[in-house]
Assembly symmetry: D3
Homo-oligomer: 293 residues x 6
C-alpha cells in the first residue's frame, strides 16, 4: 500500500509528528462537507472514510454533511422525470423533491453509514428532518425554484449526544419546511448546511471538500496555492479577481461559518487521497485555510 519501504523509526516519527495535532483537536468538533469526486471514485471514497474514522478515533467530534448531485441526476434520468429549468436553474417540483429525498436520505446517506461501519467505525445517518435539525423556509427568489429552502434554524440537540457516544453523524442536505411549507421537505445547499451546523456546534473547523486545489493566486499554477488567508483578506482577493466563479460560493460558506464563531475553514482538494488527514495531521498543509483574522 505504501509507495516506499519505510523504516519503523520513520513510521513512529510520522505518528509522533501527528501528536500535537491530535492533542490540539481532542474533543473539538470538525464538520466535513463531503462531496465532489471524492464521492464518486471508490479509492477516494475509501480514503475519506478512513480519514473520518481516524478523526473520530483520536477524539475529534466528527460530523459528515453531504449532498449528492450526480446520483440525483442519474435517478431523475432513470425515472424519466423531465426537469423544468428557470434561468438555468432546475425547478424542484414535488416529484423531483421526492427523488432528491430518496436518493440523498435513502441511498447516499445510508451507503456512507454502511461504509463507515464496514471499516470499523460507528455512524448514524440522519437528514435535516430528523429531530428538526434543519428547519427551512422556501427560498425567496425572483423566480420560484419550487421546493428549495434556505435554513431558518438549526437544532443540534440530537447531534450532541451522538457525538458524545463517539458515533459519527452523517447528515443529508434535506430540510424540514416550516411556515407555509410546514411538514414538507425542502432541498437545501449542502455546503451551507455544513457551515450552519458547524456554527451551531461551535466547531473548531469546517472542512469543505472540493475538486480544486484550494485558492490559487494564479489559477493555472498549482504552486500558487494560498495556504493561509484571513477572513478579512478574502474581500481583497475577490476584488483582485483571484477568488472567482465556483470559488465564490465556497468562500461565502467559509465566511458564514467563521462569522458565526467557527475558528477555521479549510477548502481542500478532494481529489487527493487522504487530503483531510494530511491537512489536519501533518506539518505541511495542502489546502487553503481561512482564519478568523
Amino acid at each position: 500500500m505504501l509507495e516506499q519501504v519505510i523504516s519503523n523509526k520513520d513510521r513512529a516519527g510520522i505518528l509522533v509528528q501527528a501528536l500535537p495535532y491530535i492533542q490540539e483537536f481532542n474533543k473539538k468538533t470538525i464538520v466535513v462537507k463531503y462531496g465532489g469526486n471524492a464521492m464518486l471514485n471508490e479509492e477516494l471514497k475509501q480514503a475519506v472514510i478512513e480519514d473520518v474514522i481516524l478523526m473520530s478515533c483520536v477524539g475529534i467530534r466528527t460530523v459528515l454533511v453531504h449532498g449528492g448531485g450526480p446520483e440525483i441526476e442519474a435517478m431523475l434520468k432513470k425515472t424519466g422525470k423531465e426537469s423544468r429549468f428557470i434561468n438555468g436553474l432546475r425547478h424542484t417540483d414535488q416529484e423531483t423533491m421526492d427523488i432528491v429525498q430518496m436518493v440523498l436520505c435513502g441511498k447516499v446517506n445510508k451507503d456512507i453509514v454502511a461504509l463507515i461501519q464496514k471499516n470499523g467505525g460507528r455512524a448514524i445517518g440522519l437528514c435535516g428532518i430528523d429531530g428538526g435539525i434543519f428547519k427551512a423556509l422556501r427560498l425567496k427568489n425572483a423566480e420560484d425554484l419550487g421546493l428549495v429552502g434556505e435554513i431558518d434554524s438549526v437544532d443540534v440537540s440530537i447531534i450532541d449526544p451522538i457525538l458524545d457516544s463517539k458515533i459519527i453523524p452523517v447528515i443529508s442536505s434535506v430540510a424540514y419546511g416550516i411556515d407555509e411549507d410546514e411538514g414538507k421537505s425542502l432541498n437545501i445547499n449542502a455546503d451551507i448546511a455544513a457551515a450552519k451546523i458547524a456554527a451551531a456546534l461551535g466547531a473548531e473547523k469546517l472542512v469543505l471538500m472540493t475538486d480544486v486545489c484550494g485558492i490559487l493566486r494564479d489559477i493555472n499554477d498549482e504552486n500558487s496555492l494560498i495556504k493561509s488567508v484571513s477572513r478579512r483578506q478574502l474581500d481583497d482577493l475577490k476584488k483582485e479577481g483571484i477568488i472567482t466563479k465556483g470559488m465564490i460560493p465556497k468562500t461565502a460558506c467559509c465566511e458564514i461559518a467563521i462569522d458565526s464563531g467557527v475558528k477555521k475553514a479549510h477548502i481542500i482538494d478532494g481529489r487527493l487521497p487522504h487530503a483531510i488527514l494530511i491537512e489536519l495531521f501533518t506539518d505541511e498543509g495542502i489546502a487553503t485555510m481561512i482564519n478568523r483574522d
Copy 2:
C-alpha cells in the same frame, strides 16, 4: 370531529378511565409495527401518528417499525425495473435493493418522521444499517432470492438513549449485511424486525398493525374475534385451522417476540382509526392479544 356531543363529565371520565393504563405502561417499551392500509389512507395515517405521539407523551417508550411494499412497487414500476420471479417470489437483485433502500429509508421513513414532527412530536428516522441496529445474513433458501436477509443480531445501544430523550425512533426494515455480504444492504421482513427489536428492548408489548380484525374463530364473522389467547393456545388454533394463511406469519412473529421475553403481542386492525389507542387505553380491547401463557 367527535361523532356525538359529549358532556365534560364524560370527557373527564374517559381520561380517568385511561389512567390505570397510563400508569401501567409508564416507562414501558411498546414497539408498533406500522403497515398496511394505515400507511396508505391519509386519515388513518394521521390517527396512527396521533396515537404514537400520545403514547410517547404519557411516558411510553414508543418505537415505530415500518416496511413499505406498495411504495416500493410503485417506484420499481416508475423506473421500469423488470422483476425476476422465483416460485412466485421476487428476486431482489442489487438494482432492486437500491430502490427498496431508497424508498424505505429515504421516503417512507422520513415522511413518517416529518408527519410526527408536524403534529408536535419528536422523531428520528433510522434503518437497520444505522449503528448496526440490524445485522443480517443472506436468507438461505432452496431458491436464491438475492439480497434478502434474516436478522442475525440486533443492537439497540443507539435506540435506548433516543427513547430516554422521549424521541420516537422510526425504523425501516433494511439491514446491514455481514459475512459474505459484509457492508451490503439486505431486505428484511418488517414484522420480524419489529418482533426482534421488541425482544432486544425487553418491550412490554409488540403491536402488529394488520388489515384484518385479529384472529377470528369464524373468518366470516367479525363478532367471533378472539380477544385474548395464550402463547400455548396458538398451536391448537393452528391445528383447528382457525389460524390460517396470512395470519400464520403474523402469529409466528408474535411467538418470536413472546418467546424472547416480550410480555404481550397484539394483532390489531389498522383499518380502524386510533385502533392502537383504543386497544391500549380503554377497558374493552378491539384486537387479539397474545399472552405469555
Copy 3:
C-alpha cells in the same frame, strides 16, 4: 360510570384532543390549591385525587397544597376549646395552634396521601415546617391574632427532588416561625401558601379550587363566566364591582403568583367533578383563567 354510551372512536378522539395539552404541560409544574367542598364530598374528593394522579402520570410536576377549616372547626369543638374572637377573627393561641397543626399535618394531609396511594399514585405529605419550606413571621395586624403568620421565605429545595421522582408532594398550610417566634408553628393562609410555592417553583399554573364558578360578570348568571382575563384587567373588574367579597382574596392570590412569574392562574369550581382535568385537558375551559397580560 359514564352518562352516555360513547363509541370507541369518540373515546379515542377525546384522548387525542387531550394530546396537545399533555404535550404543552409535560415537565411543567402545576400547583393545585385543594379546598372547599371538594374536600368534604367523597365523590368530589375521589375525582380530585384521580385528576392529580393523571396529571402526575402524564408528566406534570404536580403539587397539592391544602388547608382544612371545617376539620379544624370540628376538632376544636370536640376538645371543647373556646375560641376568643377579635373583630370577628379567631385568635390563635398555642392550644388552638396545636389543634390546627394536628388536624392539618396529621389528619387531613396524611388522609390525602393515603387516598392518592390507594388510587395507584405516589405521594408524600409535608408541611411548611419540613425542611423549612415555609418560614413565616407573625402577621402584624392592629389587633394581635396570635400564632398567625405571613410567609417570609419559601425553600423548595426538598420539593424539587420529590417532583423529579414523580411523587406528588401534598403540603399543609403550617409554617415554621422565625425571629421572635423561632421554632414555633404558625398558621398561614393556604391560598397564599399555594401562590407562593407556585412562584418559588417557577410553576406554569396555579389552580385555585373554590366553591364558585369563577369570576362572573353577573353574579346571578353562571353563563356570564369570564373565561379569560389578563392580570391588568383585574383592577378594572374590581373597580366595576365585578370582583367583590370572597373573590377579592382569591384574585389577590392569583396576582401574587402571576407577579412572581407564574404563567397562568385558574379559579375553578371545585363543586364540579373533574373540574381540574376539564379545565386543563379539554378545548373548552370551565373556569376563569388569569393570564400574565
Copy 4:
C-alpha cells in the same frame, strides 16, 4: 454548661478521642428509636436533638423513629374519648386511630422536626403512609384490637435520597393498611418499626432509647450492666431470668434488626443527657450493645 473547667488541651483530646468513631460510622446508617422520658423532659429532648444533629453532621445517615404514648393519652382524655379495653389492651377504633394519627404525625413528629431545625439541623417529618414506607396488615390476635397493624413490607426508596441530602428523616409509627384495610391507617409498634426500617436500610446500628440502664445482671444494681452481649447469648439471659418483663420486647426488637442484617443494636438509657453521643463516640459505652454473634 460544662460542670468543670476543662483545659483546651483536654477539649481537643476529647474531640480526637471521638475521631475513630466518627471515621468508623461515616456514611453508615444509624436508626434511633426516640421515646420514653427523653421525649417528655425538655432538657433531655434538647440533648437528643443535639446528638442526632451532630451525628448527621459527621456524616452518619441518621434516622429518627418515634411513637408518642403519653401525648396520645392526653389527647384522648381531652376529647373525652372513652377507651374500650380487651384483656387490658386498648381497642383502637377508627375514632381513636384518628387521634393517634393526628397526635403522632401532626404534633409529635412536626415538633421534633421544628426542634431539629431550630438547632441548625435539617429534617423532614414523615409517617409510614408517605410513599408507602410501612405497609401493614391488621394484627391477627385472639382478641381483635381494632386498627392495630403488623408491618408487612418496608419501602425505603423515598428515605434514601433524603439521607443522601444529609437531611434527617423523622418517622412516625403509623402504617398504610393493605388488603382488607387498604388505604386505612394502622397503629404500629414504634420499636418494631425502627427495627424494620434499620433492616431495610441495611443500617449499621439500631439505637433503642429506653427508661432503663440497659440489661442489668442484677436488676437492683446499676453496676451490673451488661455492656456487650451477642445475639446468641440473649437466649441464655432469658432462660436465666435476667431478661424479663419490659426488657423482653426490647430485646425482641434488637433480634429482629440483627437477624435482618443490622450489625449492632444498643439499648440505651434515655434518662441520661447525651446518652446516644456517649455510647457512640466515647471509649466507654454506657449501654447494652448486642452484637451479631
Copy 5:
C-alpha cells in the same frame, strides 16, 4: 491521655459545643500551611495529623501545604553540598534544587501521607509539578538567587476531585517552571503557595502554623495576643511597629489570601498540640484571626 478525669456529660458537652463549628465549616475548604516546630516534634506532628483527619472526617475539604527547611538543610550537609550565599540568601543552583525536590516531594511529603494513613485517614502527596498545580517564573531580584520561583498561575483542577473523594491532598512547595525555565523545577515559598492555593480553591480559611502565639501587642507578653483583627487594621499595626520582623511575611501571606477572596486567615501557634482543632472548634480561639474587614 487527658490531664483530668472528665465526666461523660462533660465529654458530650464538648462534642456538642463543637457542633456549630462543624455545621459552619461543612463542605468548606480550609488550607493548612504545615511547618515549624510542628513538623519536627513527634508529639506535635501526631496532633496535627489527628487534627486534619478530624477536619476531613467532619466534612471539611482539607488541604495541607508544606515546606521543609530543616530537612533540606540536613540533606545538603549530608551530601557535602557547599552553598553559595548572596546577601545572606542561599543561591539555589541545579544541584541544590535537586536536593530540595527530593527532600520535599520524596521524603517530607510522602512521610506526611504515610502518617495520615497510619492514623486512619486517606491522603495523596503531590507537588506543584503534578498536573501543573503551581506554574512559576524565576523570581526577578537584583541578585540572582538561582532556581527560585514566584507563582504565576495555580491550577486546582486535579485537587477538586481529590477533595470530592474526601482524600486529603498534601502539597510540597515545588513549582513547575515556565517560559525560560520551561520544564525545570523551581523552589517556591510554602506560605505563599498555601495562600495562593487557598485563593484558587475559594477557601473559607487559610491556617498558617507558626512558632509564635500569633500577633502580640506586646511581644514580651503572651497575654497581649490580638485574637481578631481586620484586613484594614493590619496596616496600622505595621505602622505602630506591632507587626515586625518574621510576622511581616506571615501577615503578607494572609493579605494575599484575603485579597483573593479567602474569608479568614489564622496565624496559629504550632507549638501547642491540637492548636488547629482548638482554634476551629472551640468557642475561645487561641490564635490571631484576620477578617476580611
Copy 6:
C-alpha cells in the same frame, strides 16, 4: 528528524495503518514499566514520553510505573552511605530506604511528570504510599534484606478517576508497609509492581521495557526473536534453556500479569526509540508478546 523524504500519501498511509490498533486499544488500559537505558539516554527518554502521550491522546488509559536503580546508586554514593551486602544483595536499612524514597518519589518520579507536561501531556506523580496504592509486607527471606517488601494488596481506587480525566499516573515502586511495618516505607520490585497494578486495573496489556530484544531463541542472534508465545509455552522455553538468567524474572512478571487477567504482556527493547509505539501501532511488532494461551 525523519531519515527519508516521505510523501504525503505515505504519511497518511502510516496514520491509516495505525487506525485499527487505535480502535482496538481505545479505552483499554496499558501499563508500561519504564526502566533501563530508556531512563538514562535523553533521546530515548524523549521518545518514551512522546509514546505515552500519544497513547493517552488516542484514548488509551496509560499508566507508567518506574524504578530507578542507577539514580539511587548515585545518591547513595553522594551521601557516602556504605551499603551492607548479604549474599550479594544490598541490605536496605532505614537510612538507605530514605534515600530510595527520596530519589524515586522526589526526583525520578517528578522529573518524568515534568517531562510529560513539557511535551504537552498531563501527568500526576504518585507512589505506593499515596492512597495506599501498594500495601506491602516485609519480604520473608532466609536472610533479612531490611526494608524490602512484597506487595500484599493493590488499591487502584485513586487511579481510576485520574485515568478517567485522561491524566497519566506515574507511579514509583515504593510501598506502604503494613502489619509489623505499619506506616513504614518499603522498597518493592518495579516490574512486579507494574504487573500487579496491570492486574488490578484489568489492563489489556503490560509492556515491560528492557535492555534486550525480547526472548531470543538463540541469544546471539537477534533474528531469532520469538515474536509471539503463549503463556503455556513459556515453561517449555525455560526447560529448553531459552529463557535464562535476567529473562527469568521478566517472564515471571508477565506470568503474574497474565494469570491475573491481563490479556497480553510485551517484553520490548527499550534501546530502540519509539519501541512502544512501533510494537503497539504497526503491523510488524518488534518485541516478544506473551498471550494468554
